[in-house]
């Protein structure tokens, strides 16, 4: 087969500002790979983009069933976007189950590409259809393209060294090739990638490349596809970009936090979806002096992290909801011993095991109040993959400066979604201070609980430093000496001090910023992963002429100092959350404001459209 000619012949090319494409197929069909490849090529091309992968909790649920469907959505655009799109305009469905699971999201008149070879009776029944959906009329209103992906693959590989059913493993490349044609994306990048990935299995690389080209050529050849599209480069701020997801952003942020504070990073963790990838990522970077400790459980992970903190590391433990529950007692120890520590919680659907692969923002109150006794600590949240990088640094900064555990919230949406990130100038990143000490602070011997009078942080004397030997623990400690104390007045004082130390951080964090119409009556306030959705919704409403502004909290405890003032400038406060209303409780309580919630607990992020509608409804209520 010849190299496909990349000149545009026999086709109309329409330029569009953005498109949202969803690839859906069986868990074994390689949809995540197709999606990622298409994303990377588009990034290289210069589009702005955002992605949303979704996969079942089973490793590989039964083939052909709805439970087994895995999908990947990407929005590419020639402008600055914040979400992976609302309803996709293009859906690739590799089998009937994928069609059944996703068709309802496809935009009216959307392009639907289906693998016709998979529409055998067996599969149709497995997907839960009574009759073939291609014949039931339910595809009316979409632009349907049936592609014999398996036949094409087999043909393409008839001379290949790969034989038998293994051939069909490449059929996802038909889809990728075809979509590349339709959206005018070159194949080179993917071809290079395949050659590199299968360096040691050249016959596999070859088979995939052949199939990829076959898909592309199918587009060229088949009449139906002669109308193609191009999404131009986005006018992003100039600079060097990379494409990261939130788990990677967060991991790199932790490495950066360690570098910037001149400390070494210790990461104690126990695998749990969707936080495991942080452990995986960090364990690759041992040349940064990163120690990753895969513990026997979350308690041990947190406990080892406390030990590491006591010994002078930038000590971090990461997990997801059920694991945070197990760490609660240990976090309380760090809080009482006033040791610096970052606890990363990548939220997922709950309660209990819940929906382990779905996003939710339902651990906020747990992060704030999830410890026995009076145990305040700072809580902040990442709003996007690149923001995760910066919040990881910020969480490290606060922990080290104030000698306190800090909870950093992410969620499955931030963690697994990706976006282009304009690389910062590393030398511009702030250096982080800490309370390490090697000198005695009193003539009567070292006082581990003698506080700094601006930050209220205690000194951090670590084993190995001569002369500062001391002993602390989880019983109430006497201010100054750190000795065990059951004294009433001291307990009151220490309780107040611990509270005050955290409250005082409000002066040391970025003030809240407004987006949208600052003169509006209505403020939409959010936190965490709803950032893209809210901001885009508010921008759209502003474009439509609806007066509304938005603001997004990074710190939920303490609140930034200017929050009260900002809130007082608006008549109506709307708080969208992927929970039944948690931030709203804090706002109502603190400011006695009758804020209104927009809530969703369906294992899915808000779409911008959905939010725009609901915000407008509330405004008009």
């Amino acid at each position: 087969m010849d190299e496909p000619k990349l000149k545009i012949e026999n086709k109309t090319v329409e330029s569009i500002p953005a498109v949202t494409i969803r690839f859906a197929g069986d868990s074994g069909d390689g949809m995540q790979l197709v999606g990622t490849r298409f994303t990377d090529t588009s990034a290289l091309f210069g589009n702005d983009l955002a992605t949303l992968p979704a996969f079942p909790a089973e490793i590989r649920a039964p083939q052909g069933t709805i439970a087994g469907v895995s999908s990947f959505q990407v929005q590419i655009a020639d402008f600055d976007i914040l979400t992976p799109g609302d309803n996709p305009e293009v859906l690739v469905a590799m089998n009937p189950a994928a069609l059944k699971a996703h068709l309802h999201d496809l935009a009216p008149n959307g392009m639907l590409i289906i693998n016709e070879d998979a529409f055998e009776e067996k599969n149709i029944t497995k997907a839960g259809y009574k009759i073939d959906p291609r014949e039931s009329g339910e595809l009316d209103g979409y632009r349907v393209f049936e592609v014999p992906m398996e036949k094409l693959t087999k043909e393409a590989l008839k001379d290949s060294e790969i034989k038998g059913r293994a051939i069909l493993r490449s059929k996802n490349m038909i889809a990728l090739g075809l979509i590349s044609w339709v959206f005018n994306r070159p194949l080179e990048d993917t071809i290079n990638w395949l050659n590199k990935k299968f360096e040691k299995l050249p016959e596999v690389a070859d088979a995939n490349i052949k199939t990829l080209k076959t898909g592309y050529n199918f587009g060229i050849t088949v009449e139906a596809f002669h109308h193609t599209y191009v999404v131009e480069k986005a006018a992003l701020p100039t600079g060097e970009y990379t494409n990261i997801n939130g788990n990677i952003g967060l991991s790199w942020g932790l490495i950066a936090g360690a570098k910037l504070s001149n400390l070494e990073l210790f990461y104690g963790s126990y695998p749990i979806t969707p936080a495991s990838d942080i452990l995986h990522e960090l364990s690759k970077h041992k040349n940064f002096n990163v120690i990753t400790f895969q513990a026997e459980d979350e308690i041990a992970a947190a406990a080892a992290t406390v030990g590491a903190s006591f010994t002078g590391k930038l000590a971090v433990t990461g997990t997801s909801g059920p694991g945070l529950a197990l760490k609660s007692e240990t976090i309380s120890l760090a809080l009482s011993a006033e040791l610096p520590m970052v606890i990363v919680n990548v939220q997922r659907g709950g309660p209990s095991t819940g929906l382990p692969t779905k996003p939710e923002q339902s651990d906020l109150l747990f992060a704030l109040y999830g410890r026995h006794g009076e145990s305040p600590l700072p809580v902040l949240a990442s709003r996007s993959p690149s923001h995760a990088f910066y919040t990881a640094i910020e969480a490290s900064r606060i922990a080290l400066k104030y000698m306190t555990p800090v909870i950093l919230l992410s969620d499955n949406y931030v963690a697994t979604g990706s976006e282009p990130w304009k690389l910062p100038d590393i030398s511009d990143l702030p250096s982080l201070t800490n309370n390490l000490t090697t000198t005695n602070n009193s003539k009567d011997g070292f006082l581990p609980f003698h506080r700094d009078m601006t930050t209220f942080a205690r000194p951090w004397a670590v084993p190995g430093v001569p002369g500062l030997e001391h002993r602390i623990g989880g019983l109430e400690k006497e201010e100054g000496t750190g000795n065990v104390s059951y004294d009433s007045a001291n307990h009151q004082y220490m309780t107040d001090m611990r509270a005050w130390k955290i409250a005082n951080i409000a002066n040391d964090i970025e003030p809240l910023e407004l987006n949208g119409d600052e003169k509006a009556d209505t403020l939409v306030l959010g936190w965490g992963s709803t950032y893209g959705g809210i901001t885009q919704a508010v921008n759209r409403l502003n474009e439509k002429g609806v007066k509304v502004a938005s603001a997004h909290l990074t710190f939920i405890n303490p609140f930034p100092d200017n929050l009260g003032e900002i809130l007082s400038n608006f008549e109506r406060i709307i708080i969208p959350e992927l929970n039944t209303g948690q931030l709203i409780k804090l706002i109502r309580e603190r400011f006695l404001i009758d804020a209104k919630g927009i809530n969703k607990v369906a294992g899915e992020p808000f779409t911008a459209q959905e939010l725009a509608e609901k915000i407008e409804e509330k405004i008009n209520e």
Partner: protein, 338 residues
């Protein structure tokens, strides 16, 4: 850990904290043994770290003039793991009770032992929960009447030596509070051991479980019942050395010396790779009743977890060079927007 010649007296090892155990508690004697031993260890005290959980025993770090961390119930081995991983140059000691180590903390204990983390774990076994005022523990004898088992406990206790050996412990030993010499010997052996060491120290709780170890500490009992395990020596015991231990059919047994030939007597070898014999020795008694082996059961060299972790880091730095943030953020490929 390089030993520098440091000369301490026992008093140098005493913190300024008042010791708050009950008068007569076995913990005092152990504290004295440990303080004297640490004073002579030859390590400067800022390199010593004592980590504990919760319980009477776990108050121990407060009384040592070293770095100390009194943590939460059962988690000390995990905390100590974080300490030694973070600074392999420290001498890290865990002090714990039978409840702390074997009830709530059982999992951390067996994992630390399996991984051969370089920490020394002292378990003060008083066969009771002291701090919570007397409930039975996982080492209390069956039938024990306590506040939580008014009709007698119905649980077979753990044999801590067997548990440790089943968990791949590379160093396993037993002592008793009153015997400061034995305790010192055992501590000495543990301190020269690379990796994790598990040391059970029988400890009298005179308030809630007085005289639990009488068969090993009374005047007669100590001669009749203590089987002293000494590396390289025949295992012989009794007031007149009239008994010996043999290994027969895969089991350790007690024989009258008059019934056997001396060549049949088991010669103790703490360095056997295979833990089977050490395990069979652990089965000679199930608690401090009747003839009970004391001393070092096993001391086998094996790579420590800490060393292996450090090796990987050194290897990564050697092969990839020190990490640079500039490179890291570009590692997935970049593109330019102009």
């Amino acid at each position: 850990m390089s030993k520098v010649p440091v000369n301490y007296k026992r008093t140098d090892m005493q913190s300024d904290q008042e010791v708050k155990w009950c008068p007569g508690c076995g913990d005092y004697t152990i504290l004295a043994s440990v303080q004297s031993f640490m004073a002579e260890l030859g390590i400067s005290k800022e390199k010593m770290v004592f980590v504990s959980g919760i319980g009477c025993a776990a108050r121990f770090p407060y009384y040592m003039n070293t770095y100390g961390l009194h943590t939460i119930h059962g988690r000390a081995p995990a905390v100590a793991t974080g300490v030694t991983l973070s600074n392999p140059d420290l001498s890290v000691w865990v002090v714990s009770g039978d409840g702390d180590s074997l009830s709530i903390g059982g999992n951390h204990l067996i994992h630390a032992l399996r991984k051969n983390v370089n920490i020394k774990i002292l378990m003060f076994n008083n066969q009771i929960y002291g701090l919570t005022k007397g409930q039975y523990s996982p080492t209390s004898e069956e039938g024990k009447k306590t506040k939580s088992s008014p009709f007698g406990s119905v649980e077979l206790p753990f044999n801590p030596m067997s548990v440790a050996l089943g968990a791949e412990a590379s160093f396993v030993a037993r002592s008793v509070d009153m015997d400061r010499d034995l305790t010192t010997q055992v501590l000495q052996e543990a301190s020269t051991h690379k990796g994790s060491a598990f040391i059970e120290i029988y400890q009298n709780c005179n308030v809630f479980n007085d005289k639990a170890f009488e068969q090993l500490t009374s005047k007669e009992g100590r001669v009749a019942n203590r089987i002293n395990l000494v590396h390289g020596e025949k295992v012989i015991f009794g007031a007149e050395d009239e008994f010996a231990v043999t290994i027969e059919n895969g089991e350790a047994k007690i024989a009258k010396r008059t019934d056997i030939d001396d060549s049949q007597i088991y010669v103790h070898d703490i360095t056997r790779e295979n833990p089977s014999v050490a395990f069979s020795l652990s089965r000679l008694s199930h608690g401090p009743y009747g003839p009970t082996p004391m001393g070092v059961f096993r001391k086998v060299q094996r790579e420590t977890y800490n060393e292996d972790v450090m090796k990987q880091i050194d290897f990564a730095k050697d092969s990839k060079g020190d990490g640079e943030l500039d490179k890291l953020v570009r590692s997935l490929g970049t593109w330019d927007v102009k």
